[in-house]
Each structure stands twice: as C-alpha cells, then as structure tokens.
Amino acid sequence: MTVVSPGTSLSRRRLLPGSSGSGGRRPRNRATADQLAGWGFVAPSVLLIGLFGLIPVIWSFVISFQRNDLQTPAEWVGLKNYRQLADDPVFAESIRHTVVYTALFVPITLVASLLVAAALNRRIRGISIYRLAVFIPVVTSTVATGVIFTWLLDPDYGLVNAGLNKVGLPSQGFFSAPNQALFTVVGMTTWGWIGFGALIYLAALQAVPSDLLEAAQLDGCTKAGAFWRIQVPLMRPVSGFLLVWLTINALQLFDEVFVTTKGGPLHSTTVVVYYLYQQAFQFFHAGYAAAMACLLFVAIAVITLVQMRLTREEASG
C-alpha cells in the first residue's frame, strides 16, 4: 500500500497525456464508464477498509464512553474515561515518551535513508547485494529482531558491550537502564526502517531525469551540488510521503516495545499504544483504552494533515 502510492502518482503523470489525446469521441459516457470501472477496482479495498478499519474505529469511539471489561454488560459513563486520562500520570508519561521517540526516530530515519539511497544509487559490481543487505531488516519479523537485539545488547553477556570493553569503553545498560532504554528502541527501529526509506528514495532518485543532471554538470555543478540542489528538491513529494508514513508508524509504536522491554524498565519505554494495550488486554479497562485510542487517532489525523499541507506547499512553492 505504501510503496504503491508514490509509484501511482508517477505513472499517472506519464499516462495522462496519452489517454487524453486518444479518447475524445464520447467524453461524457467515457467518463462515467471510467468512473464505474474505477469504483469497481477500489471496491474490494473499500469494503475491507470499511469492515476492518472504519467500523472498529467507530466502535472504539462508542466504547470510549463506556466502562467496559469486554465480558459483562457495559455501562455508560459519559466523559469519565477522558477526564480520568487527564489525571493519569502514566498516560502523560507515555505521551512524553511517544513524542521523544517520534522526534528522534523520524528525522534520523529520513536523513539516514536518503544518504543510504544515495550511496546505493550507483553502478558498481555487486550493488544488488548491498541493496539486499540494506533491505533485509525490513522483511525480518519484529519478534526475531527484538530477541536478537536483546541478546546483542545484554548488559552482562552481550556482544556490543564486549566490543565496547575491548576498546576501553564502559559497559552500557541498553534496554535494562531506564535512562537508555527509549534511545535503544530508537536505534533498533531506525535500523529496521532505513531499508524501507532507502528503497523509496532509491526509486525516486532513479526517476530523476538524467538530462537535468547532465545539464547541471555542463554548467559546472559538482556531483554533491547536483544531489542537494536538484535531486533532493525534486524528491520533495517522496520526502513528504516518507515523513507522514514514518510519523504515523512512530506514533503507533508497539511491537518493538512489546518484544524487548514490555514498557519498562520503570515505564521508561511505555509509549501510548503499549499503555493502551496494557489497559485493554491486561487490565481489561477497554473503555479507558478506547478513549486513549480515540485521542491518538485525532492526534495522528491532525499531525498528518499539517504535515501534508506543509509538504504540499513546499512542493508547489
């Protein structure tokens, strides 16, 4: 779904001039037929998204006004869940952790993906092996990644601390230290996402017309200059897409925390979705958790809208 959207916009641009030139005879009927065909193509996804996306969202919204333990009949409590959230120190903490995580993860991943893509955008022997190596973390299961990282970063027996000690640096706590755990999660997830970002950027880099670069070179522009002044600005829509996509994923961080730190030590990696899971499926406060989910939904919607607006204006301006 994600990989498709920049691709479709590119292909649409290429196809549109051709199609408008050839089909001029019965524009109106043609348009309705096209529309019908279009709806036919998207109907399965609309149905699936409606069934598994929209209905649960609406249902969560309803539950958020209830005291609901998922077993006994629910009880209407009005805005009580939302009021309680306002006074919940753990919820406040989880928001802070989510914001810190997002503020670190998104820019680091964006820049690192861009640089990796630039490094991979060349014709040298064995380049596909390098590209594969960068992409492998993306297709590796989060659970496997998490378990391997907890072993590598074990404070007493981990390979990483052994290496640090070899070069005379002290051992670190990583996942076990409350002041390092969140940053360790940032590091681990960045490693997992760079491949995805690099893949998108690589595709975009290769779509930049080479005559533009040649023209720049004729005018005496260096390779690095052409990269920053021509390729990067031309990829703005792609950067915008990645920004939105990475932000949404960062705000919904869960799996990595679940398999490595379980929100600990001492709540230091409790992010909003992990806390929500804990409330809903360990404590069975489904109404309370649904209220959190609704707030998160609104937050993500607002942030995404702002980001889309910003990147669109930049792109057009």
Partner: protein, 434 residues
C-alpha cells in the same frame, strides 16, 4: 503464572512459534477468534496452549477418550499459547465462539469470574467420587473466588532452588542444604560470583512482570508478610517483612552484584547451561531444558527464621456454558482427564507434577520418579506452599505495581522503603478504584 516461563523456553527453541503467538495476540486484539468446528451436538471444544511434549501427551489422551466415547467426542484446539489464553478466551466470547473448556492461568480466574457464561463448579466438586480434598491446598485455593469453585486444577508447580554442583565444587562452596538461611544463600551467591569469569551466583527475572513478582512473594511470605489484607481491600506488603524481602534483594543485586538480571527473554537458562549462573529459583518446567552435561541438584528455597515456604502457580481448566448437554459432557471429560491414573500417565509423559496427592501412592509413580529424578524435591516442596495469590479481578494491576517496585530496587534506582511507599500508594489506588 509458571507458564510465562514455560513460553520463554519456547522462545529459545523456536522464534517462529513466538511470532505465531504474537499473531494470535494481534488476532485477539482485532476481536476475531477462530475456534474448531463443532460437529454433532455432543462434541465439546477444549482450548489449550500446550506445545511440545505436553501437546503430544494431551492429544494422546484426547484420542483415547474419543475412541472410548464415540458419542461424546472432544475437539482439542491449540489457542496459540497459554500466555495469551485469557485474551484469546475473552475475544472468543466477544466473537460468540466460546470454548466449552479452556486451560487458563490461575491468575486469570478472577478476571474470568465476571464472565456470565462461566460454569460454577462448587456443587460438582462436592461429588464424593471426585475427591476434591485429594488436590493440593494451593490448587484448591487458586480455583476458588469468593467461596465459589470456578475451575479445576490442570497443572501445579512451585519454586525450588536448582543449583549447578560443578560451580559449587570449583568455588569451594559447600552445596546448598534444605535448611539454608537467607544469609547462607546471600554469602554463597557472592562467593560464586566472579567478575573476571563473568559468573553470577543467582539469576532473577527482572522484567517487572508476574515472573518478577512471584519470587518476591515467596520471600515476603517467608518473612511473615502478605501482599494484601485478608479481605483483599488494602495493600499489606508495606511491612517489616516486605522491607526485609526487598532488602535481601537489594543487598544481593546492588551491594554484592551477585545476581544476573534477566530482561525477560529467558536468557538465564542458557547461561545456567553454559556454567555462568550457579543457582536458580525455578520450577519443574525448566528441568527438561537443562543440558545433560550439567550436574545439577534441587533443594528447598532458603528460609527466613526456618520458614522455607514457597509459591505455586496452579493453572486451571475452566468451563463455559454453551448448552447444558455440553456442560455435562465437558465435566465428564475434565473429571477423567484429572483422575489419578490418567493424570499420572500425563505426568510420566511430560514431567509435569502430579495434581492429586493420591497420584504419588500409585505403583506407576515410581516410573515418574525414575524418569524425572529432579522432580522428587518439587513434589515434596508442594507441602511448603502455604499461601495463594489473591484471587481478585484487579490482580494484574496489583502485580504490575509490585513488579515495578521490585524492578526499581534491583537496578538500584530506588531505596527499598521509598519503593514500598510508592507501590503501596499505587496499589491502594488500584484497589479503591475496582
């Protein structure tokens, strides 16, 4: 909650299984629950989360039951793992596909006690032929919520001290004895710790989960304390006993640094196997994962003023009413499954402890002891289970607060009394809110 650890063993064995479990959690979160197809009106569906040898042994018993009872067959359904059984069962209710019988952790019984479909077994266990008194006290307590019997024992275990004899010999430390005190334990652990060789005297699962909590509870009870007041309305662990237990942990983990703090991925057993950790407080489920070349012994937990009591995490079979005929059929099957002869067969196949006291008097019990010599102490230690965890619906929240308290002391982040104070306030809030 012994099977928390049980699943950790599975992590070590197969990552694929864990991702399957994660997928199941995902499914449960979506509210979808798949159950086995029910064919014929008297076929009952039994959900379980057993893997490996236990799954095979259960399947064998299920097949035996089905050949003997062509009109009352049993359909065994793997629910993705016992760790997610509670979530899966509740998702099943929401989806309208509840099982007739489900294997559940003892700590889940209070949460499920609110379930309208749950079958109250209080009258049924009174049947003299069932011999309810034959079960160990800890099992009966774990099955009972507010005087009602809501499940029957499926598995029982306890924590005992498992030690690597070779490491003791190498360090010149005398082997643990059943009358060891806390300070004997502490000083031995310190002597067995070697910074250069990276060996630790003891390992503690310090992820703040129930796995962290129940080892603390054993210490708390030995010192004469309890988690909550007898009516389960207020915290009681902020006591001299609660402080003594936390002090012991602090002295070992922070002062002596003789404890390996496991992050919850179950690394402690690999390290025990490779001779890096000398002692574990663990249950019978770990014995089958100890390598053959490791010479180990099992004894009672070290005690406080001669009190060596331990903690047990009994798991249960719980029944749900989908129709009266199915309830009767389910009861017949469960009764048979935990009858002395049948369960002893299961114990011999799997190494799980007997759930009934009378199993230890059957002739075949010797086969069990010969096959699993390490289990002898675990069976005897069942007598030392004197307390049960409180069966209250908010137990998971209480456990989370206490787990955080222990964790903060073990990593040297809080002083014991300060940690007790803040956990007490948190638990007070939880109990007042429920």
């Amino acid at each position: 909650m012994p099977s928390v650890v049980r699943t950790q063993r599975t992590i070590r064995k197969s990552l694929a299984l864990v991702s399957a479990a994660a997928l199941v959690i995902g499914l449960a979160a979506c509210g979808g629950g798949s159950s086995g197809s029910v064919t014929g009106s008297t076929t009952i569906t039994v959900w379980h989360g057993y893997t490996d040898v236990e799954a095979e042994a259960l399947k064998k018993l299920g097949a035996q039951w089905n050949t003997e009872h062509p009109n009352g067959k049993v359909n065994l359904v793997f629910d993705g793992g016992n760790d997610g059984a509670l979530q899966k069962t509740i998702a099943g209710f929401t989806a309208g596909k509840a099982p007739d019988v489900a294997y559940e952790y003892g700590s889940s019984v209070a949460a499920l006690s609110r379930q309208p479909k749950l079958v109250d077994l209080t009258e049924r266990v009174k049947d003299p032929a069932f011999k309810w008194d034959d079960f160990f006290v800890s099992e009966r307590e774990a099955s009972t919520v507010n005087g009602k019997v809501l499940g029957v024992p499926a598995l029982v275990d306890n924590l005992s001290l498992v030690y690597n004899e070779t490491l003791f010999e190498q360090a010149g430390v005398p082997l643990p004895t059943p009358d060891w005190s806390w300070s004997d334990f502490r000083s031995a652990a310190a002597k067995l710790t070697d910074k250069q060789k990276k060996t630790f005297g003891w390992a503690y699962v310090n992820d703040g989960s129930e796995d962290t909590v129940w080892r603390y509870l054993a210490l708390l009870w030995q010192a004469g304390g309890d988690l909550l007041t007898p009516d389960n309305t207020k915290p009681a662990f902020d006591s001299p006993a609660g402080l003594a237990a936390l002090d012991q942990l602090k002295q070992m983990a922070v002062t002596d640094k003789s404890v390996y703090l496991d992050s919850g991925n179950g690394n402690y057993l690999n390290l025990f196997n490779s001779g890096k950790i000398a002692m574990l407080w663990t249950g019978p489920w770990d014995l089958s994962s100890i390598n053959e070349d490791v010479k180990y012994g099992v004894t009672l937990l070290p005690g406080y003023n001669g009190d060596h009591q331990t903690i047990s995490g009994p798991d249960l079979y719980m029944m749900f009413n989908n129709s009266d005929a199915k309830v009767d059929a389910s009861w017949d099957f469960v009764k048979w499954l935990i009858s002395p002869e049948v369960h002893l067969q299961f114990a011999i196949d799997t190494g799980d402890l007997p759930v009934r006291q009378s199993e230890t008097e059957l002739p075949d019990y010797q086969k069990f002891l010969t096959k699993y010599p390490g289990n002898k102490v675990f069976v005897e230690n069942l007598k030392n289970v004197k307390h049960a965890r409180p069966n209250i619906a908010s137990y998971n929240e209480v456990s989370t607060a206490v787990g955080k308290m222990v964790q903060s002391v073990m990593i040297g982040q809080s002083e014991p009394q300060a940690a007790l104070d803040s956990a007490r306030d948190e638990v007070t809030g939880v109990l007042a809110g429920s």
